[in-house]
Amino acid sequence: MNDVAEMTVEEREATLGGIGSARKRKEDARFIRGQGNYVDDVKLPGMVFGDFVRSPHAHARIKSIDTSAALKVPGVAAVVTAKDLEPLGLHWMPTLAGDVAAVLADKKVHFQNQEVAFVVGADRYAVSDGIQAVEVEYEALPVLVDPKKALDEGAPILREDVVDKDNVGQGPRRHPNHIFAWEVGDADATEEAFSKAAVTIKEDILYPRSHPSPMETCGCVASMDATNGVLTVYGTFQAPHVIRTVVALITGLAESKIRIISPDVGGGFGNKVGAYPGYICAAAASIVTGLPVKWIESRMDNLSTTAFARDYHMTGELAADENGRITAVRATVLADHGAFNTHAQPSKWPAGLFNIVTGSYDIPVGHVKVDGVYTNKAPGGVAYRCSFRVTEAAYLIERLIDVLAQKTGIDKAEIRFRNFVQPEQFPYQSSLGWEYDSGDYPAALKKALAAVDYEGLRKEQAEKAAKGELMGIGICTFTEIVGAGPTRNCDIVGLGMFDSCEIRVHPTGSAIVRLGVKSQGQGHETTFAQIVATEIGLPSDDIVVEEGDTDTAPYGLGTYGSRSTPVAGAAAAVAARKIKAKAQKIAAHLLEVGEDDLEWEVDRFKVKGLPEKAATMKEIAMAAYSNIPEGMEHGLETTSYYDPPNFTYPFGSYICVVDIDRFTGEIKVRRFYALDDCGTRINPMVIEGQVHGGLTEAFAIAMGQELVFDEMGNILGASFQDYFIPSAVETPEWETDYTVTPCPHHPIGAKGIGESPNVGGVPALSNAVVDAFAQHGVTHMPMPHTTWRVWQTIEEHGLNK
């Protein structure tokens, strides 16, 4: 009946290349040949270029803009300013957080490199000449750089446009530079626990401002077709469908006349979630000129204007009994959001999912308070390879538990065992409001400790310490919260955070699968085909996965916050099961038995008790278009919109060993062992690759990444000369390992992996550095742990004598 009839069940299963297979990636074929299609590769007939005149000041009034000389530059077609966009209502745009952000500076600039005018011209060189020729007169204003001074009485008022508003989208505010105050937990009960505690610790911990800086910067090509009124925008969008809706809301165009296409995206890491002035200006310029307009961000623009991350000034406190058992956690946070509140979080969560700050520990009570403020810095507050402020929360609790260990004299592994949520407590209700789905934290840490010979390392450390040498062992036992999210509490601009998958099975037994998310390197074309292959028994090699074109893909909320596998991956499994349910009816018809007489085996329905009587999915596919039961509609296709019942909670146990040169302050990561539990593993090769990449980004953040400003608000070092991107030379070797605790509510038990190594990696590295100095009474050292800073700590304690 078919060519696999001779194969064993196991061989047939292997042929599918389904869940668990380390199959090679489908997308590689074009990338290794240089045939990827990234946005800057898009070239349309008649296309012109656009780029920005940017402000040299961090805070200034615009007295005048003279475009006359620029318009005389050969090749320059137009210079657009806020005044030109105002009649279209496009000079300001709404942000995902309920605030507004300037598209082009309107009377004032609020941060250095802010977009002031958009020059359109024949090519990049003409545009560059035009930018030089635009004359802008500024009147400098006092600059607010330090968020701790933002709410002072005499602080410069930044946002004159909202000065009279007592709410800028996320609740009441108490000062013109205040954005929101967010509180969760029980303040009184927490205070009581602290007052009764045998031990308390408190630490000021800054998670500095960093930037996701994917290798490809942001950009777009906008093209308005005057003949049919359709606006097509190719761009670096992690969430193309949301962008389409936002463009419809901003421009008033019918959403059906907007087509958003995310072609190949060269990494995102949160940088490409938001809507930026470049997109709006390119679209407006195309609408006005009738020509396709390309805008591609430079690296300096990328680092200095679009989507910074973190900038959380945290004070963390733990209360504990004499055995190191934590009785309460308290976190007070000042969040620097820059000039406009353009952070990308689900609407109801002004501090994202920061209340996951209880981490992997069973902490009976807690309280969190976060205040967001404006400063004269670029707007943002995106999640850099993390799920909505989870990185900040994980960093805080994993640093705090180390501080507690040092204060109580309990070993840093032991104190974690004493506080873990136990396997039998799942589903676990945290005191700050989350229901953790599943986990086995003690097993993971035990495995990790054994893998690195933890006792041996501690012995070695003591021996080295006796000789004055610096060796540190960092442990991080993190829990994430990803897969946003249940529509009951997660939305973006009111859109529920479901995701979607459409499957069409063709007559000859191959399929196309389209999803509402968008890969930026995660390998969706490979892994989502594996999910569908296992579910419906067709080889993954014959399943094409498509994403990113809003005209063809079903509506979805996009890829960030490790939501692709937890949400769209679930939609793929559910859609596949709908296909399978119809296939079963067709099989019953073909085999002339009742549906209940059939059982599924790898790639076919078999008649129970008559194993030779079977219909393969391939045969069923053909029948769906040729021989169906009476009353059934033809075809074999379906769409699923999946609303996750809960978040997923991946976790891990990381151990890092560092050796520090006590004369130079140089840190060498001797060993880094990462055990991850992401539930069901879809493609081990892809998982390992994601862990390597996430750990390398964690290494970058912990050891060097920081966007620094001087007192005038000048950004210092917005290029790869100064902003640390580790090369192959600095990057350590990574060891990976895993346990599998399936997610109980996900159709295939998967939890997501992409961000775990960043969330867990940063504290592991930081804890290792601080641990090297723990014997000298050091409880915290500010990130990033640059050689200079580490040397200062050495010097301060006289360890280089």
Binding site: R33, G34, M215, G266, S727, A728
Partner: protein
């Protein structure tokens, strides 16, 4: 701005074009010749996404003028192929060892690795890391890139031996 003629060989093909003297090689390749394999990642010669081979040396084509390549021989990712016309061992290595994710750095990475293996056909892991230190990647953590280059080195050395 007045244009000047340039002549060069790109991936084995003779090319004659007019360019502005200030036109960068990367823009010439990508926009005038439609060779969009090499990418622009930083414009300051740090990231290496624009790496091409010029007269037997790796160059960051974002900081080389097209006219500097006049009379030269340029190799971009589009010019890579195996002896049998299929994949080059480096392309194969990157795929087999999962040496890429988003793919944006890959053309520059492969082009640079090619020159490295010409200079040192049998590099140690440390030499591979050093040799690729001008090419940044944000997705892979480099570990599998090192493996990919090693894979290619072994393959190319075996081919070399078989030919001798």
């Amino acid at each position: 701005m007045a244009k000047i003629p340039v002549k060069m060989t790109v991936n084995g093909n003779a090319v004659e074009e007019l360019v502005e003297p200030r036109m960068l090689l990367i823009h010439f390749l990508r926009e005038q010749l439609n060779l969009t394999g090499p990418h622009i990642g930083c414009e300051t010669s740090h990231c290496g996404a624009c790496t091409v081979d010029l007269d037997g040396r790796s160059v960051k084509s974002c900081t080389v003028f097209a006219c500097q390549a006049d009379g030269g021989e340029v190799l971009t990712i589009e010019g890579f192929k195996g002896d049998d016309g299929g994949l080059h061992p480096l392309q194969e290595g990157f795929m087999q060892e999962h040496g890429l994710q988003c793919g944006f750095c890959t053309p520059g990475m492969i082009t640079r690795a090619h020159r490295l293996l010409q200079e040192n056909p049998n590099p140690s892991d440390a030499e591979i890391r050093e040799g690729l230190s001008g090419n940044l990647c944000r997705c892979t953590g480099y570990q599998n890139i090192v493996k990919a280059v090693r894979y290619a080195a072994e393959r190319m050395n075996a081919q070399q031996e078989a030919a001798e």
